[in-house]
Symmetry: C2
Subunit: 545 residues, 2 copies
């Protein structure tokens, strides 16, 4: 019988001291509890993913040093710890490794074989692949280590040319341990279930999946580590979006189901809600931020972001700023006020009329005789951004961006205006999902005033403006966007699904025509399988198909 501790911890990129001390703490506690082996996630000492910090030899040296340091704590207990080491062979300078440690030293170094290089991943940028696998014999159990992607050989849109899992099976592994850094998105968990149940079945081996938790710029790592038996049974499942260490026993018949096996909430709305709140909170924690500022328009997007921010940071740390213009409706102001009252956060009002007027005076000699249009609308959005950034700079509040994914997609936002912010909270949440989340938040009581949810969406940048003047209804827009952004369908393939040709053409033109705006957008909390940002790299100079 092997007692294995699953150390689902939250590491900070490059914070070697804090990361190694978390690891050492876990080892110390586990040893006292009679644990044989502690498994930490992929790249624990460095955090995942340091990106081009890996180009710095001094960074890599610190990482290697930290692994050595951690190994010294492995007396009377063994550990599997992820990190980065120099590649001893030809090829790229580094390898993504898991170290098997015991007796105070690193006994075996297992490099990763399959290097995810798609979407938000770019491991081939840094690492050389392992050329072979090996199995570690520990207390009578043959342990195969497959690092994260190493167990996903069949589960992308292409099949890798190698299968580390197959190789481990052939080498006689009794158990595959899968230290991971696998980010959350909606639907990821059912995908993981498919992967793990597929692989335990294929190899007839139990799998222990140990994932990081925490926010690393755009990416939200959700934990949700689990021990899966070779019949597909989940013996132990750790919670999502929180640090957690849990022990599982491994015997002749695989993992012994623990009393702590939890049934996992896979309903998308609560997951999305939890994920976004965790996203804000951990981003702020790691950046050393405390207080958030939000432009409160009285619309549904800012209402949702404000509610999530209050959940994440506390009402006392959120400042809502209403900045009515000559085109703002009375409703907008009273709705925004009602929301802040419900949430209990501070709310101030700074009208932009004087500023708007000053810009008009300055620009009128050059605007004279030309029709009123986008330029005038953008002036208002940008005036508001300057006010918000002024308050941010002066009072130390961090600006949260409130654009949703549908707007981001079609460029229905002002660059250097409402596209400003340190973090985009709902830039990966479609407008239809925004509504669903608001209704979910209100499921027990009216937190977001129903008037906000039910009124017709408007940017209020000119008289009587409605979103529907320039955009198709959101359910249609979002349907087209999903196919284009997430399923990589082209114009004709979307039209065949039953959408109106002109609408599809117009939407795709808008998406392609606003790449330049997204190039300068804030980092977006990623909650879908394809978010704007580092996971979707588009040329600006191009003729889009």
């Amino acid at each position: 019988m092997l007692r294995i501790a699953i150390a689902q911890l939250n590491f900070k990129i490059g914070d070697f001291e804090s990361n190694t001390s978390k690891i050492a703490d876990a080892l110390f506690t586990a040893k006292n509890q009679g644990v044989d082996l502690v498994v930490f996630p992929e790249m624990s000492v460095s955090g995942y993913m340091p990106d081009d910090l890996l180009d710095y030899p001094s960074f890599v040296e610190k990482c290697e040093y930290s692994l050595d340091l951690v190994a010294q704590s492995c007396q009377g207990i063994a550990a599997i710890v992820g990190g980065v080491m120099r590649n001893p062979g030809k090829g790229r300078l580094l390898q993504n490794v898991c170290c098997f440690m015991q007796n105070g030293r690193i006994e075996t170094i297992i490099p990763k074989t399959l290097l995810p290089t798609y979407d938000v991943f770019s491991e081939s940028r840094y690492f050389e692949s392992a050329t072979s696998q090996q199995v570690i014999s520990f207390k009578g159990v043959n342990i195969g280590i497959a690092i994260c992607e190493d167990l996903w050989d069949l589960y992308n849109n292409f099949e890798y040319t190698k299968s580390p899992g197959e190789a481990l099976k052939e080498l006689g592994a009794d158990l595959i341990i899968n230290p991971s850094a696998s980010p959350f998105h909606l639907g990821k968990d059912s995908h993981r279930n498919r992967v793990f149940s597929g692989q335990v079945n294929r190899f007839n081996l139990p799998v222990l999946y140990v994932n990081q938790v925490g926010v690393h710029t755009e990416l939200i790592f959700d934990g949700s580590s689990r021990a899966v038996n070779n019949n597909g049974e989940i013996a132990v499942q750790l919670p999502d979006f929180e640090s957690c260490i849990r022990t599982v026993e491994f015997g002749e018949n695989g993992f012994i189901p623990g009393e702590n096996a939890v049934s996992f909430d896979s309903d998308p709305l609560p997951q999305l809600y939890k994920g976004l709140i965790f996203g804000i909170r951990d981003y702020f924690d790691k950046m050393g931020f405390k207080k958030a500022i939000i432009g409160a328009s009285g619309g549904v997007d800012s209402a949702l972001v404000q509610t999530l921010a209050v959940q994440a940071l506390g009402a006392e740390n959120v400042l809502a700023v209403m900045m009515p213009s000559r085109y703002s409706s009375d409703g907008s102001i009273s709705h925004a006020q009602a929301l802040s009252k419900n949430l209990g956060n501070e709310c101030i009002q700074i009208p932009i009329e004087e500023i708007h007027q000053a810009y008009e005076n300055s620009l009128s000699p050059y605007f004279k005789g030309l029709p009123i249009g986008i330029a005038e609308e953008n002036l208002q959005a940008r005036s508001r951004a300057v006010i918000l950034m002024g308050l941010s700079n002066k009072l130390g509040y961090i600006l949260l961006n409130t654009s949703n994914k549908s707007e981001m997609a079609v460029g229905y936002s002002t660059l250097y205006g409402d596209l400003c912010g340190s973090l985009s909270v709902i830039g990966d949440v479609y407008k239809t999902q925004v509504y669903a989340l608001c209704r979910y938040i209100n499921r027990n009581e009216e937190i977001i005033p129903n008037d906000i949810i039910e009124k017709e969406p408007s940017a209020e940048l000119r008289p009587e403006q409605k979103d529907s003047d320039s955009l198709p209804p959101y359910p249609i827009l979002d349907g087209i966007l999903r196919m284009f952004l997430e399923e990589f369908k082209g114009e004709n393939e979307i039209i065949i699904e039953g959408y109106d040709m002109h609408t599809v053409q117009r939407v795709l033109q808008l998406v392609n025509g606003s790449e330049y705006k997204r190039y300068q957008a804030p980092p977006i909390l990623r909650v879908s399988s394809k978010a704007f940002g580092k996971g979707r790299v588009m040329p600006l100079v191009a003729k889009y198909p």
Copy 2:
């Protein structure tokens, strides 16, 4: 004797119609001139690099269709044409290929083996490597095709595990053709000389290097194609930064030196000057832009950008906007006016005092009692950005960003203020290089008023402000930045080079502390081996070493 045409052409990403018609034109003309083989650059039909457009099957189908179409033109002439095709085997879905075409069809498909995945390159994100090499026999010559990186196996900071060149040599190649998409940076050409002279010597084979020309968002492809004999002699060298088709004859003793062999200007300043002008011009051409707007501060950075813009676009297409504040010196206005007079472009003045005052009035209740600082400075920079973007939106001018690399590095710029723009012209040019370029521009006559070059740099955002109040002298700053950014040296390694410890620490803190600003910066024309932007990916949530 083989007559080979080097088709150094300018393609647009995704513009299959225009790209294939350029290729067909070149084939038609070459055939009339008795050429046997036309060599086009890497990924000619698609342009390099389509990035995630490659995730769209409809894009790849168009690419394959274009290759077929081009092959049909190859009657009585042969061609080597680069593109993207589906991978017929296991692994990633696509391959980066060069097609050998004759008799109206694609006769041989050569996939690329070494996939650059570092700095601005991310080919492993899309392509599967070739597993073997082959040689093409054409009119008695055994041609080996090594696509771009395939010939750089020894010339990165690591050695690849494969050498396509060695394999081609073993297969009996008489000549290596190297279709490429190799972007310009200062010093790249001498690096290329090292590579080509090294490889012709190593393999004892002549090499024909055929490079793209053109601007693809950040990247400037410079052409500079060449035919190199196995003794290292450059038989033919094509110009840099322009489209050009030139024929070279290949016989038993290699390439016959043409009367058109040019001696190449490798002096860095003229290259930088030419490259930046070409960068602006081709970016504007490809984006369909005509007119540029610049915030003219009277300082050296905006003066340089304005001069380059006038060179690239013509004085009639450049609008300089002076936006004096209460802190602007008289000199700034008169210097900016003198520059526009020298260059012959339109120059207007829009004072920001009224706007500045309106912001102060609106924010004073919240700023009250707090010391004056960054917030007040940023208000001015952002007010100017709003004016420039207003003129841009209304009149169709495209805003050029004027921040230099030294400022970008240390965050000496205002996000949503002077960091705005559609294109950063000198964001990869250090301040010391800015001065050198200005002096180079003035080498024959005073185009940029000497007062601008000689006065002490100041942002003029508060009374008596000087850059030197908050930054070390630029030669020292730039020295530290080069080591940190381009040589990946850490703090201690820079200090050992003789720099003051506190200065080094402060500079590195400033660089690390402004990652969040650069995340939202415009695309930067890349002219160094390590520019900010897609080639330098840093986490925001991190503890920097």
